[in-house]
Symmetry: C2
Subunit: 185 residues, 2 copies
């Protein structure tokens, strides 16, 4: 099964959802970890149903088609738990930002600094949104590591830690370029 299948199961294991709800949840909050558009979600749900990992019940919807509510089957739940600690293949890193940084030497210092300050600001904005999201977590709800709330909090904590490191790196790089301006006499 594809990673998308497991992403959908992580949502469904907390309770039945319609395809539309799952597609929306794949943007927020799962979008921070794994994204998928509705055009990917609907066929994947059909595959999961064919494999017997989820069941679906159809009812009249507002539009021309029925709406379908999906629920994880016992088999689907077992497969999700088996996936948790199955061997994890490393994904190749892809950062267009770092690729551009490798071209720093081709442009003059002011232009490089303008770009880096801009990107630093964007990275700091992302960090701010993570921090305001952390404020939304009730401290008591994330006390117990055996809860879904704690698991969600742990991924947010990852975002906070790594994004803070990115901002820190921008500051290091910008400071290096600024220092270059003063000293090379």
């Amino acid at each position: 099964m594809s990673t998308l299948a497991y992403a959908l199961l992580t949502l469904l294991v907390r309770g039945p959802r319609t395809g539309y709800q799952l597609a929306r949840l794949m943007r927020v909050p799962i979008g921070y970890l794994w994204t998928a558009s509705h055009s990917q979600v609907y066929p994947e749900l059909a595959r999961l149903q064919a494999a017997g990992w989820v069941s679906a019940t159809a009812g009249p919807g507002p539009g021309p088609r029925d709406n379908k509510t999906y629920a994880v089957t016992p088999l689907g739940r077992r497969e999700l738990i088996a996936w948790f600690d199955a061997p994890l293949a490393p994904r190749p890193n892809r950062s267009e930002l770092l690729l551009r940084v490798r071209c720093l030497w081709l442009v003059d210092r002011e232009r490089a600094l303008a770009f880096l300050r801009d990107q630093r600001g964007a990275a700091a904005d992302v960090l701010d949104t993570y921090e305001s999201e952390r404020a939304g977590f009730d401290a008591r709800r994330v006390e117990n590591p055996g809860t879904p709330d704690f698991a969600a909090y742990a991924t947010l904590h990852y975002g906070l830690t790594s994004q803070a490191a990115v901002v820190e790196w921008f500051d290091w790089l910008i400071a290096r370029l600024e220092a270059d301006h003063l000293s090379p006499g």
Copy 2:
């Protein structure tokens, strides 16, 4: 043009290379930032040549086909520099690891800890390879921010900073799970 095209130009702008050399460089060292297999590289070089961004000279090769040496044209160089600070579209995050962490609550504590300690070790190993690569950089060669060596060093520094944050996050999470074992009486 695709990001791959610019990845190839960042390599070619430092001097002419054959398709084979470029395919190898796309694994190491560019593989840390952007990967591509040779089956992607050869067609992309043909596209770049058709667009007039690179030129190619063919010579007899060891195998059944000629080998071709590519070089950036003045147009290609201008396009690469224009790309440097063009608007940068954010790429969606995809982390199967974090997706799995969201399922922490479905497995028992010991199983979760075993998985996390294993992944923590893998992350620490990556950090170690980055650190030994930093040791390979001559301090004087990366003094001047206007050099290709400094640009490469800056991307390595990114890897070090962010990977250290990841290891730190693992330690936080593992400590939280271990504390859960002692206190909830």
